[in-house]
């Protein structure tokens, strides 16, 4: 059995800045993972539906617009509604420190802010995805 880690990198809401998301996507690919990229302006419904069809282990949400409290938690709420418990949700982008504990409570396992080494993201995923 050769399981590959599959991860969805998604940009929710109205935010056109995808450089960070693309750099993370590349780094994860180079770490041997299969990375599905959705492009910009996704709704929570689109992200969750894509995650289901692609059977991903991880959803990585990237947002630089400041609407993360709403848009990130929309995704985790929808996953809960659909009884999906085996997908890890990660956040990235410009997220103020004081929001991180609140996001954690809402089901975002980890927030990776500016300056994060891509190796740290890779290590976190490798450690936490059951293979």
């Amino acid at each position: 059995m050769n399981k590959k880690i599959r991860i969805l990198i998604a940009k929710p809401g109205l935010d056109g800045h995808d450089r960070g998301a693309k750099i993370v996507a590349r780094a994860l690919r180079n770490a041997g993972m299969e990375v599905i990229y959705t492009g910009l302006h996704q709704t929570a419904e689109m992200i969750v539906e894509t995650a289901i069809q692609e059977d991903v282990d991880v959803i990585g949400l990237s947002l630089l617009s400041g609407a993360h409290m709403t848009l990130f938690t929309d995704v985790t709420k929808l996953l809960k509604e659909k009884n999906i418990e085996d997908i890890i949700v990660l956040g990235g982008g410009i997220i103020p420190k004081q929001d991180v504990p609140k996001l954690k409570k809402e089901g975002i396992s980890r927030v990776f802010g500016p300056g994060t080494h891509t190796e740290d993201i890779i290590e976190f995923i490798n450690k936490n995805v059951k293979t």
């Binding site: 690919r29 299969e34 492009g39 539906e49 059977d55």
Partner: protein, 313 residues
């Protein structure tokens, strides 16, 4: 019947997605479920799309799917992108052009990495076609990684193969003709709002003239502008005509038998490779033989005999 197989037949998206993963990973759960669903397959019309990189294949698929949805057909899409031979990872980005289909319950999209397969397909693609077929999809569209000379494996699995070209290729139409001429059931000249479109159409038509001079069916050459939806209705009509043509003669049977042949060969190939290279006893043996070849104690052919001899006996 196995639970996941039963749920695939009930069109449950999570079960479809999970069984595809099992098949891709070569999990033991896959073969049992694949056995159960096989009797429920064979109904879907499988359309392959290949062609030059950047030719607009993903956008075309989005438009074709929309048109089939208007006719009430359920559509499964398999989008294949290359796996890096160095890292084993893949960036699967075809969905970007299809996101407007994401919320349509009648559409199931799956992205796949080639995972070491050459020929423009992924090794598990035969399984994925069977799974989507069993889950009630009327149309299954496969997007290959793009075409050069060798990526022509799509004809082993598709009932109808579409080859996408764009204007301005000039002599490159000539360059790719060797592989491509033989696999196209329909030619599409996409981005037909670009200059030189008529020249490209003329070049392709002249190739078709030679290829089809003594055949009963002439390969149609269509112009499309996928981003505006121009020419899509004509394309759908040609796809349906081709399906009727296949079913009106022995061609359909021949194609389906070819597909099962390719699938069977692929399953055997995979199992043999796993047997030779993953089983711990053989792994040590292979390493040892590589050492011996390197030291010129043995030649590669005799080394291969040593490994295969055990299996073939």
């Amino acid at each position: 019947m196995n639970e996941i197989a039963a749920n695939v037949l009930k069109e449950d998206p999570r079960s479809i997605a999970r069984l595809i993963s099992y098949a891709e990973n070569g999990s033991i759960y896959a073969s049992k479920a694949m056995k159960d669903i096989h009797p429920f397959t064979g109904k879907a019309h499988v359309i392959g799309i290949t062609g030059v990189m950047g030719g607009g294949k993903s956008t075309l698929i989005c438009e074709i799917t929309r048109e089939f949805r208007k006719k009430g057909k359920k559509v499964g899409i398999i989008a294949i992108d290359p796996t890096s031979p160095f890292s084993g990872g893949a960036l699967l980005g075809d969905r970007v052009r299809m996101m407007e289909l994401a919320m349509d319950k009648g559409v199931f999209i799956r992205s796949m990495g080639t995972r070491g397969m050459l020929g423009g397909l992924a090794s598990a693609v035969y399984d994925v076609v069977e799974i989507l077929d069993a889950s009630g999809k009327d149309i299954i569209i496969i997007e290959t990684v793009g075409v050069g000379q060798a990526e022509v494996d799509i004809i082993k699995i598709a009932d109808t193969t579409l080859v996408v070209l764009v204007p301005g290729l000039g002599d490159s139409v000539q360059t790719i003709k060797a592989g491509v001429m033989e696999i196209a059931d329909i030619f599409i000249i996409n981005k037909a709002d670009r200059p030189d479109v008529n020249q490209t159409v003329a070049e392709v038509e002249s190739l078709v003239d030679i290829e089809c001079s003594n055949k009963e069916r002439r390969i149609p050459v269509l112009k499309t502008i996928a981003k505006n939806g121009d020419g899509i209705k004509d394309l759908i009509r040609e796809i349906e005509l081709h399906n009727k043509y296949l079913k009106s003669n022995k061609e359909f049977d021949r194609k389906r038998r070819k597909r099962y042949e390719a699938e069977l060969v692929e399953i055997i190939r995979k199992r043999l490779m796993n047997f030779i290279f993953d089983e711990s006893i053989f792994k040590d043996k292979v390493e040892l033989l590589i050492d011996q070849i390197y030291k010129k104690e043995i030649d590669p052919y005799s080394a291969a005999d040593k490994i295969l001899g055990k299996i073939l006996k």
